[in-house]
């Protein structure tokens, strides 16, 4: 089985070195009136370059821009849409991190590109393909609250987010994105809603042009809906293996018609996985994989880890691949 190495999505925006604290420092200075938004954007640029360089040094095949400019996974996208106001903090799943909740006041509409500039910036500075990440319409809708005079019920909000993100998928594809990953962690909390996610993905897939579309589900166990996930209109299915004791067995037994992103490396814990154990998991999965190719990736974004540990996790991917190829030879 051919193994590609990829970052999942986010990368820490801070580290222990003063240079790695540039963004925090600049935002604090901006808030005190000592710097302005242009300074913050310059710091974000610098941190994005660092994130790209660290992924490249870890010999990843596919990188991301580290989502360095994102305030959080929800408000960064929803907050750019007309009809949406950003409100107070709520906990993001079972992480000890928080997002700002969108309040839907009118039907959400995309009036401006959301991530196209971020794509162009990263593409110009990376020799590896850049994967763009979108928090999916279903997860955005599940984390939003409708104002009493808002845009109808949940289904209407989901449809509006879907339409807005489908436009963005089209714009990213037109700008040359090779890979677009749609994150839908909320699906694993309400797996009975998979038909809603399927419908929404069809709308996004219709706009993807020559880009490849990935779906990533995490922060839960995908095993119970594994067969349904295999039928979704995406080119790559990225799975979090850290919540499920049975997922490796499920994949090995049921097989995989789609290329899989194997989130076998825990993006939420600092402990480095035993390479021999991961290789055994890869060997099992390889037996059922039809595409002859898989991606090895962290289970979720790496911003939950300190910078030094996130970097080690990325380098660990390459070490595991080397062991895997050695065992396969």
């Amino acid at each position: 089985m051919e193994l590609l190495l990829a970052n999942h999505s986010s990368y820490p925006r801070i580290g222990d070195d003063p240079d790695q604290q540039l963004l925090r420092r600049t935002i604090t200075q901006r808030d005190k009136g000592e710097k302005d938004d242009a300074d913050v954007h310059a710091a974000e640029d610098r941190l994005t370059e660092q994130a790209l360089a660290e992924q490249s040094a870890a010999r990843l095949d596919v990188v991301t821009d580290g989502l360095v400019r994102w305030y959080d996974p929800i408000s960064h996208l929803a907050g750019q849409l007309a009809g949406v106001r950003i409100n107070g903090l709520l906990r993001f799943f079972d992480t000890n991190t928080y997002f700002r909740q969108p309040i839907v006041q009118a039907r959400p509409q995309r009036t401006t590109p959301l991530l196209v500039d971020e794509l162009k910036f990263a593409q110009a500075r990376s020799s590896q393909p850049v994967k763009m990440v979108l928090t999916g319409p279903y997860t955005l809708a599940r984390h939003s609250m409708e104002a009493s005079d808002g845009a109808g019920g949940f289904t209407e909000v989901l449809e509006a987010y879907t339409e807005a993100l489908a436009e963005e998928v089209g714009a990213l594809a037109a700008a040359g994105a090779g890979w677009i990953q749609v994150d839908e962690p909320s699906l694993l909390k309400q797996p009975g809603d998979i038909s809603l996610v399927e419908r929404s993905l069809h709308a996004l897939a219709a706009r993807k042009g020559s880009a490849q579309l990935a779906l990533s589900v995490y922060f839960g166990d995908p095993a119970p809906i594994y067969d349904r996930l295999q039928a979704l209109p995406v080119d790559l299915l990225v799975l979090d293996f850290t919540y499920s004791p049975h997922l490796v067995e499920t994949v090995a037994t049921r097989g995989a018609g789609k290329t899989l992103g194997l989130g076998l490396i825990d993006g939420r814990n600092t402990r480095l996985e035993d390479p021999a154990r991961v290789v055994r998991q890869l060997e099992k999965i390889a037996m059922g994989t039809k595409s002859g190719r898989a991606w090895l990736t962290p289970s979720c974004g790496l911003e939950y880890l300190p910078r030094d540990r996130a970097r080690k996790k990325l380098h660990h991917l390459a070490a595991i691949k080397k062991t895997f190829l050695g065992s396969a030879a």
Binding site: G15, D31, D72, G88, N96, E303, Y304
Partner: protein, 330 residues
């Protein structure tokens, strides 16, 4: 039921006892001292002297307000988990991780065998109690929350790490009891986050408290209570200190479906707004509580720690709740 336990412990409290969740804002003089200490301009002993001064400030304030069960205000703590991680063996303080926006914190890493080296909070409790004749709560963070807010490297899983922590935190509980503490609060704000792990938190609380002679309170906030209620009542504590106001008292609806069976420290002021609630609003919240809960079971406090408010706001919020509780007693 729990009132009888308090009496057995020799504590007499009025109807609607007033208290606070634990933390108070650090006064400016302490913030300056912490800044000076970080810049190595003053020594650890100098800082501790100022922390004691700030502790005395809050004890005096609470007495002046007429609070019934006092706290030391946690003037010596930065973070409720890192503080214990720094004082237990088996931890390394990890690099910075993001909490939200531009806020970051050092998340502990459990990388060895967790071990209690000796009393952590006991001297602070003794000092605070020496300043007042009213009972002062012992204040700890529970094993499940310490585990959940740390990385785990040296234990095979979350349950194993939680139970190891529970055994060691029990030693701190025993030390507090030996020093004279009779009311001990063990905060578990993380238990509402992974409902499927509630049994682990319950098991850990048993390990920490079973057979020990104290009135136990646990504080839980900002989570999906609908997924852990009524199961959470199996946590072996006498009193749940709950955030009620921020969520529009919606927990009362749950209590109407499944009876609430313990004492409750009922959050009547929101700690996430600068606005100081009018006493009429606080009274309205308490009267709503009385429609569902027996008056003997209700303690009155803020939703959560007040450390994010200004000193003036914290005092004003406490004043509002004390006035209302005292008024309702009659």
């Amino acid at each position: 039921m729990s009132r009888a336990k308090l009496e057995q412990l020799g504590i007499e409290l009025p109807l609607f006892p007033t208290t606070s969740v634990g933390s108070f804002p650090k006064p400016d003089f302490l913030m300056k001292a912490r800044g000076d200490f970080a810049k190595k301009l003053i020594s650890r002993a100098d800082l501790e002297r100022v922390e004691r001064q700030a502790t005395e400030f809050w004890i005096r304030q609470q007495e002046k307000l007429g609070v019934d069960v006092l706290v030391d205000g946690e003037m010596y703590r930065g973070d409720m988990v890192a503080y214990f991680a720094e004082n237990l063996e088996g931890f390394e303080i990890g690099g910075l991780v993001r909490s939200y926006g531009n806020r970051y914190y050092h998340k502990p890493i459990i990388n060895g065998e967790v071990r209690w080296k000796g009393p952590i909070t006991v001297d602070w409790w003794k000092y605070a109690q020496s300043l007042t004749g009213k009972p002062v709560k012992g204040m700890l963070t529970g094993a499940y929350t310490v585990m959940d807010w740390s990385f785990i490297e040296s234990y095979p899983g979350r349950r194993a790490a939680t139970l190891a922590l529970a055994r060691e935190i029990r030693k701190e509980v025993e030390a507090l009891i030996q020093a004279g503490a009779k009311i001990i609060q063990i905060d578990e704000p993380a238990v509402s986050v992974r409902p499927e792990e509630l049994p682990v938190a319950i098991e850990a609380m048993h390990v920490t408290t079973d057979g020990l002679a104290a009135y136990f309170i646990t504080h839980i906030c900002y989570g999906a209570f609908e997924h852990i209620y009524p199961e959470m009542l199996k946590l072996p504590v006498d009193n749940f200190d709950l955030e009620m106001s921020n969520s529009g008292l919606d927990l009362l609806a749950l209590f109407q479906k499944q009876p609430y069976t313990k004492d409750i420290s009922f959050g009547v002021v929101d700690v996430h707004t600068h606005l100081v609630e009018a006493e009429s609003l606080v009274e309205q919240r308490l009267r709503q509580a009385l429609e569902t809960l027996p008056k003997e079971a209700i303690w009155v406090d803020p939703d959560c720690g007040l450390k994010t408010r200004t000193v003036d706001e914290a005092i004003a919020k406490m004043q509002a709740l004390v006035h209302v509780a005292q008024g309702l007693r009659h």
